[in-house]
């Protein structure tokens, strides 16, 4: 007989199971980090690796299970707060401790407290947002004016990163071959170091605000770890106060980080960011084309209007000119008539005067007097007006209306 008391592995497991039986019905709230979620879509169950780390030292690790029904309920709760269970997430979970003779010790997760998961980071994030808003920095970068053609870009990225590659690709292959210029300012983009690294480059770029049209922070590929850096207050403040519009394309799919919120414009991928830049050129080009078309249309319509105006003016010109000529014609004809009429009148008037004169002359003719029985006496050819000077014996000639006589003065009577 074997000298030592030996148990089968099964016996051992049974006795350990008995040890845990007392705990099986009990539940506890436990804080832990999900190292890996290990969700299986087909079965609907998840087998998260739970750890407890202090600094980078592992203090505890457990396998755990979330059965389908619980998983669905928890997922629904997280969806309500805009979150999802994922790797590297710290949770407070309601668990029971189980022991299985084959699968060993594991924690059965019954529930996860969403309030905690919003957690420290979220609280920090909210605090950062609140502070930035209070300091009027939150919308500061958005209030900057993006040049019509953002063609010179200061890029904060990593030369070898997939995100920067995507960005370069879109720029280089833009269909209309718009010319962009960009300069890379290398920076660490992940983890705590990203905060100071990006901030430093923003400060360098800020010294040359006239050289660049905008800043683009580009990150893409790699794990979504250490993302909390982008919720950091000091980094967000550096971005908000940058004198140039800051674009972000940091390839982050869930909630937007504070950095993205304060930036001039954020894009879900570096590709989208590059496409936006190209689109600005496209829009300007399209606007220009449409301006040219409108200008042409306007000029044509103006020309048409002017043509019609000119034609009307032409017509009026013709009418007025001909009217003026006709008026002048009439005036001239009237003047001619007047000349003839006035001349006739003038002549008539003058011939009237002649008639009167003739009449007067007729009346003055001495024969007319003689006719009425008067006679003219002359002596030595001179008309006698006075008897004085005449003496008896003088010869007088007397002329009558008809005939004349010669006589001698006999006596002179006293007058």
């Amino acid at each position: 007989m074997y000298p030592k008391k030996v148990y089968s592995l099964y016996d051992l497991s049974r006795s350990i199971r008995n040890l845990f039986r007392g705990h099986a019905s009990q539940t506890y709230w436990v804080k832990a980090e999900i190292l890996k979620l290990n969700y299986y879509e087909q079965s609907g169950h998840a087998y998260p690796d739970l750890v407890d780390k202090q600094k980078d030292t592992l203090r505890a690790q457990f396998k755990s299970t979330i059965w389908k029904a619980n998983f669905n309920a928890i997922t629904a709760k997280f969806k309500d707060i805009g979150e999802a269970l994922k790797d590297d997430m710290t949770i407070v979970a309601k668990i029971s401790v189980n022991y299985h003779s084959v699968h060993g010790l594991s924690l059965n997760i019954l529930d996860i407290d969403t309030d905690y998961t919003l957690g420290e980071l979220a609280r920090k994030k909210q605090e950062a947002i609140k502070a930035l808003k209070q300091e009027k920095l939150f919308d500061l970068n958005k209030s900057l004016k993006l040049p019509l053609l953002p063609k010179t870009i200061a890029v904060i990225s990593v030369q070898s990163s997939k995100g920067f590659g995507d960005f370069e690709d879109v720029i280089a292959r833009n269909p209309k071959q718009f010319q962009f210029h960009y300069k890379l300012f290398p920076a660490v983009l992940q983890g705590e170091r990203a905060i100071t690294s990006i901030s430093r480059q923003i400060q360098v770029i800020s010294q040359y605000p006239k050289l660049f049209d905008a800043v683009a922070i580009i990150r893409g590929g790699g794990d979504e770890v250490g993302f909390s850096a982008y919720d950091d207050y000091s980094l967000a403040k550096n971005i908000a106060t940058c004198p140039l519009p800051v674009f972000t394309g940091i390839g982050h799919s869930s909630n937007r980080t504070v950095t993205e919120l304060v930036s001039y414009k954020s894009f879900i991928t570096p590709t989208k960011l590059a496409e936006f830049l190209v689109e600005q050129f496209d829009v300007v080009q399209q606007n220009l084309s449409s301006y040219i078309r409108n200008l042409e249309k306007q000029v044509r319509s103006d020309l048409n209007a002017t043509t019609i105006e000119l034609q009307n003016l032409n017509k009026l010109f013709e009418v007025y000119t001909l009217n003026r000529l006709r008026q002048q014609n009439t005036a001239l004809s009237q003047l001619e008539l007047q000349l003839i009429r006035n001349t006739n009148r003038y002549l008539e008037r003058h011939s009237g005067y002649m008639d009167v004169l003739q009449q007067k002359l007729k009346l003055l003719d001495p024969r007319q007097t003689l006719k009425r029985g008067f006679s003219i006496t002359t002596r030595n050819g001179k008309t006698v007006f006075d008897a004085e000077g005449l003496k008896p014996g003088d010869t007088l000639n007397t002329t009558f209306y008809k005939g004349s006589i010669e006589s001698e003065v006999k006596t002179k009577s006293k007058s």
């Binding site: 034609q311 013709e318 014609n329 001239l332 003047l335 007047q338 000349l339 002549l347």
Partner: protein, 67 residues
């Protein structure tokens, strides 16, 4: 005689017509004035005719312009 403008000739003609109307012309000068009036009238008519002719020609030209 120096060529007169239409306006000059017309004004002068008007003056003669008025003078005759108001009998401000000596009968001795009447013939001379009438002669002058007929010359002025001829100037006016010629000018008016030529002007009309030219204007009509221009109007035809204008109408022929392609706009």
């Amino acid at each position: 005689m120096k060529t007169k403008t239409y306006t000059e000739a017309y004004t002068e003609l008007q003056k003669i017509v008025e003078d005759i109307e108001n009998a401000e012309i000596n009968i001795d000068d009447l013939e001379a004035q009438i002669k002058k009036a007929s010359e002025l009238l001829k100037i006016c008519k010629d000018k008016l005719y030529k002007t009309e002719e030219n204007v009509l020609k221009r109007i035809e030209e204008i109408k022929a312009y392609k706009i």
